[in-house]
């Protein structure tokens, strides 16, 4: 017979595993694991090439739109008055609140790397086992970049 604590921890791990898989499934279905799709979206100059949308690829906007519609409704509903998470005592909130140079500089550097490669962390991890050497190099360097930032700031 498992203790209540052990059973709770198992449920937490199973839910996290399932969320990771569902997240990956959504990225694969929406083709966000393909850098050409992401670069096609970031290529705004493509709008000028041919009738709208030209060579610009709006796919990413549909993906982000669908995801944010769900989180807008879901996060608000989950945090209704008096509610707590299913498997945890409280909803954790991000620690940092300020809109500062650190936030803007970090996001700016992130966007440059994203635009150079067409990969951000989620799609890169979801395709790291199947998409060949490019994404492998990307993920290794990303881990180094993360470790550097954690040491320096």
């Amino acid at each position: 017979m498992m203790s209540k604590d052990v059973r709770m921890e198992m449920l937490r791990l199973l839910l996290a595993l399932a969320c990771g898989m569902l997240f990956a499934g959504g990225l694969v279905l929406s083709e966000m694991t393909q850098p050409a799709r992401v670069l096609g979206f970031l290529n705004v100059a493509g709008m000028a090439q041919g009738p709208f949308p030209g060579r610009w690829d709006p796919t990413l906007a549909f993906v982000m739109g669908g995801a944010v519609l769900v989180t807008l409704a879901g996060f608000a509903w989950s945090q209704r008055r008096g509610a707590t998470p299913w498997l945890a005592p409280v909803f954790s909130q991000p620690l940092r609140q300020a809109i500062d140079l650190r936030l803007v500089l970090g996001a700016a550097l992130f966007g440059v790397g994203w635009g150079l490669s067409g990969y951000c962390p989620g799609p890169a991890l979801a395709s790291v086992l199947t998409a060949g050497p490019d994404v492998l190099y990307f993920v290794l360097a990303m881990l180094v970049g993360m470790a550097l930032a954690r040491r320096l700031v």
């Binding site: 966000m32 493509g46 669908g66 769900v70 803007v104 150079l116 086992l129 993920v139 990303m142 180094v144």
Partner: protein, 139 residues
């Protein structure tokens, strides 16, 4: 049009996964945050590894196998390394990426996340405009 509906459906799945992690564990499904802090030994690291296992394993299980959209030219190793460094460094410095600030942060109506999303979209647009346009295939 079918492609856009498929993209919308995929986005809804990503949103559901992010919502379920928040509703169940009370945690934000920000991939860069989860990946960069999973290495820190704490009572939070097991669920982080479970999520990463699901993301990496799920991606491999669901991978379509097809070549998909090919880029018009191969990319140098150095470019991928530089891009990875910038994405890793920038996401930790800026406390989030497309998932944490984009999918979750906008859903939480966080002003910080909106600023981050507008910023990385802008530098992403600028970077592709300057550097990557020629290798992008026709959608």
């Amino acid at each position: 049009m079918a492609g856009y509906l498929q993209a919308l459906a995929g986005g809804i799945l990503v949103g559901l996964a992010s919502w379920a992690l928040f509703a169940g564990l009370g945690r934000i499904a920000g991939v860069s945050g989860i990946l960069s802090t999973a290495w820190v030994r704490s009572e939070e690291s097991p669920w982080r590894w479970a999520f990463l296992l699901g993301l990496i394993g799920g991606g491999a299980v669901f991978a379509t196998g097809g070549a998909g959209l090919e880029l018009a030219a191969p990319r140098p190793v150095g470019l991928m390394l530089l891009a990875g460094l910038l994405v890793g460094f920038g996401s930790v410095l800026g406390s989030g990426c497309t998932s944490g600030h984009g999918v979750c942060g906008l859903g939480r109506r966080s002003g910080r996340s909106l600023v981050a999303v507008v910023t990385f979209m802008a530098t992403g647009f600028a970077t592709v405009f300057v550097a990557a346009s020629p290798i992008i295939p026709k959608a």
